[in-house]
């Protein structure tokens, strides 16, 4: 049976790096998705989660076992991503050619028959670009809240713990982030 997060944290605190590796394997990809949602850049997301896990390990003794490990970890990931985003403040990422192709083919293959119809491919690419552009127009705080909700499916209470803000703030940020996204996606909604 898989060990719980609390047990792995306890073992990591005793210096067992294999336990910490298991925590990384359990949450690394999800942490990457959160970081990518905020930074919109794969290299930056890698840097951010690398820093986050190092920070997390160094402050494991501060982790209160009453709260869940992943909300605590997400707090570190979100803060590291926000810090990096403020440091870089750069305009749209340029992704490596191969990665771009891989990403778009992954997206397209999930839609049945879309390869057969070039107009579908165009529309799909256009939609991805639109969503990317819409996300870029959001502040990092709004990106964080919409990523944690829509991609990670966290509850308002979990988001408020991860972002260290009130549930009211989570609600209002989500409201405005969705409103912002809506202005971009108006053409893509199905009635």
């Amino acid at each position: 049976m898989a060990e719980t997060d609390a047990v792995l944290v306890e073992k990591s605190l005793e210096g067992d790096n294999e336990s910490f590796k298991l925590l990384f394997e359990r949450y690394g990809k999800r942490a990457y998705a959160v970081s990518y949602g905020i930074l919109q850049n794969s290299e930056d997301a890698k840097d951010a989660i690398q820093n986050s896990f190092i920070r997390a390990f160094r402050s494991l003794h501060r982790f209160r076992k009453a709260s869940s490990f992943y909300t605590w970890l997400y707090r570190i990931v979100v803060n590291a991503s926000i810090d990096l985003s403020r440091k870089r403040r750069r305009t749209p990422e340029t992704i490596p050619f191969e990665e771009g192709i891989q990403n778009s083919s992954t997206r397209l293959s999930s839609e049945k028959g879309s390869f057969a119809d070039p107009s579908n491919i165009c529309r799909q690419t256009e939609l991805s670009d639109t969503i990317q552009k819409a996300m870029e127009g959001l502040s990092v705080e709004h990106k964080a809240v919409i990523t944690l909700r829509e991609i990670e499916g966290l509850s308002y209470a979990e988001i408020s713990q991860s972002l260290e803000c009130s549930i009211g703030t989570v609600m209002s940020r989500l409201y405005y982030a969705r409103k912002h996204m809506k202005t971009y996606l108006e053409d893509y909604y199905k009635s």
């Binding site: 127009g137 959001l138 502040s139 209002s172 405005y176 912002h180």
Partner: protein, 150 residues
């Protein structure tokens, strides 16, 4: 002595947190659509058609492109700053809220000084337009929407 100091500070922190939570300043959300208006071609971006319909009744431009959207969250007396494409800056400071209206200070800065500094009250959720700064072969127009939620 040290313990006493810590207890006093903790009590102040507790009291402060209690009072602050009761009077916490609400977040003010600002959205700025940056529009490029010119006569280079006849094009109207669908996303801003409502604003453009209004603008067209006052100004004779044929091309309206939405070139950027900025969303930011600020608080009363906290400056929100937006970089503009013509190397200027837009500074927006929500100053107060009263009876559903938000008092705002808006400053349009060029490198050699400000070209507009205004205070006005706007209905919560309302939009105003600031236009005129030169850009490329036309002008920039900013649609500033301000909203707060209680």
């Amino acid at each position: 002595m040290k313990i006493l100091f810590v207890i006093i500070i903790s009590s102040i922190v507790f009291l402060h947190t209690f009072i602050a939570s009761a009077q916490r300043s609400p977040a003010v959300f600002i959205k700025v659509d940056v529009i490029y208006a010119s006569n280079e071609r006849a094009f109207i971006d669908k996303k801003i058609s409502r604003i453009v319909n209004d603008l067209k009744s006052l100004f004779a431009y044929s091309n309206y492109e939405l070139i950027d959207i900025h969303s930011l969250e600020t608080k009363y007396h906290q400056t929100g700053q937006i970089p503009l494409p013509n190397a200027s800056k837009l500074q927006i400071v929500p100053l107060a809220e009263q009876a559903g209206y938000i008092l705002l200070n808006v400053l349009v800065n060029r490198s050699n000084g400000y070209i507009m500094n205004t205070n006005f009250r706007i209905i919560n959720g309302g939009t105003i337009l600031v236009g005129g700064p030169r850009y490329k072969k036309g002008v920039l127009v900013f649609a500033i929407t301000v909203e707060t939620m209680r």
